[in-house]
Point group: C2
Chain length 218, copies 2
């Protein structure tokens, strides 16, 4: 498979969606799917699907479509799901707690090892079976357990400092859910942010466009 | 301003980031910024910045850069921030609660009117001043208050049903944070999803690529 060719950010962003859709198809018992059916459920054209998957060496067979389980496995491989990445959570407020309790880390190839906080009310306890340690022990834990990713759900006021500590302690990636930008001057540390406000503002834009055309019509 | 020209999805997705960065610059007291400085802080080139902003009729003056407050206001206008959109929250579990308590809806131009749940322990109470009503009253509330957006933070098992009810009751947009796909056959209703797993899998891909090159070197 041509894994090392340069792949555009747009394609990378679509890969997890493919993986998600294929997982849903697999759960629904679908064995085989055509590019056009897969595209239809994802809002993409059959030709986009074929182009995207061709980037990774092409799967599927002309006229027969894709085998759901094989394609899912291949895309999962590309996404690194079988690499056994490990993750810790920083901040066990409502958001951290929601993710710990409900997010299926293992379906995404991650092992959630521990959570960290400074609140004495939660340090020493467990959330959904995940132990919560004091943030003082962060660096020692990362060094001792080979943590790949630190997830940030701390308050905005602590976000940059905790991001710096994660990067300094040697994680490979920071998953930033604080809704503020984290600066990181180490090129070897990948920062991926979920910006809730960017999503809501994109929605605001789209409904405003529709309101705009309604107003013009009316 | 040329607001009605066709704008690419990529540019639309960047607009909220511009707005966020400009808000931070404004808070830091920055009055004027060049394309290259704005690009630097956003990981974009000066030429990308100029191209993006040109889509909306171009702001700024050759050699003088952009006035932060004016540019922020113009972009906010494009994003519909001054339109006074209203929003309700469906589902007050940990995630719903985290967003109600911490998310600055008003900075994004939204008024959070109410939350809905079915849990007797929370119906009738308030969360950070926001009243929680029983989901039975959803349709009547939407009709009575002209709700623009319904935010979904219900369990996955209830996501599609509640999405259908929101669309049927006449909201313009659904902000879906359930981490599952919502189908909506009404083209007039915009569905915008925050997919946590897509973000984590993109991070997984990026750190796997780095691990791959380390392995090749070693």
């Amino acid at each position: 498979m041509k894994r090392n060719m340069k792949v555009s950010t747009a394609v990378i962003r679509r890969l997890p969606r493919y993986y998600r859709h294929l997982s849903e198809l697999q759960e629904a018992g679908t064995v085989r799917i055509s590019s056009s059916a897969l595209g239809g459920s994802m809002g993409l054209t059959a030709s986009q699907i074929r182009q995207d998957l061709f980037c990774f060496g092409g799967f599927g067979q002309q006229g027969y479509g894709y085998k759901v389980d094989l394609l899912k496995e291949e895309i999962g491989e590309i996404l690194g799901i079988s690499r056994g990445h490990t993750l810790i959570v920083l901040g066990t407020g409502n958001l951290g707690r929601a993710i710990i309790k409900n997010f299926r880390f293992s379906s995404n190839g991650f092992r959630l090892l521990a959570a960290f906080d400074v609140d004495p009310a939660v340090v020493g306890a467990q959330i959904a079976g995940v132990p919560v340690y004091h943030a003082d022990g962060l660096e020692a834990f990362i060094a001792g357990h080979g943590v790949d990713v630190g997830m940030l759900t701390v308050p905005i006021s602590a976000a940059q400092e905790m991001g710096d500590r994660l990067a300094g302690a040697g994680v490979k990636g920071i998953w930033n859910l604080t809704n503020c930008e984290i600066l990181c001057d180490r090129p070897e540390v990948v920062v991926e942010s979920v910006h809730f406000s960017d999503s809501l503002l994109a929605l605001s834009y789209m409904i405003s466009q529709q309101e705009g055309s309604e107003e013009e019509k009316g």
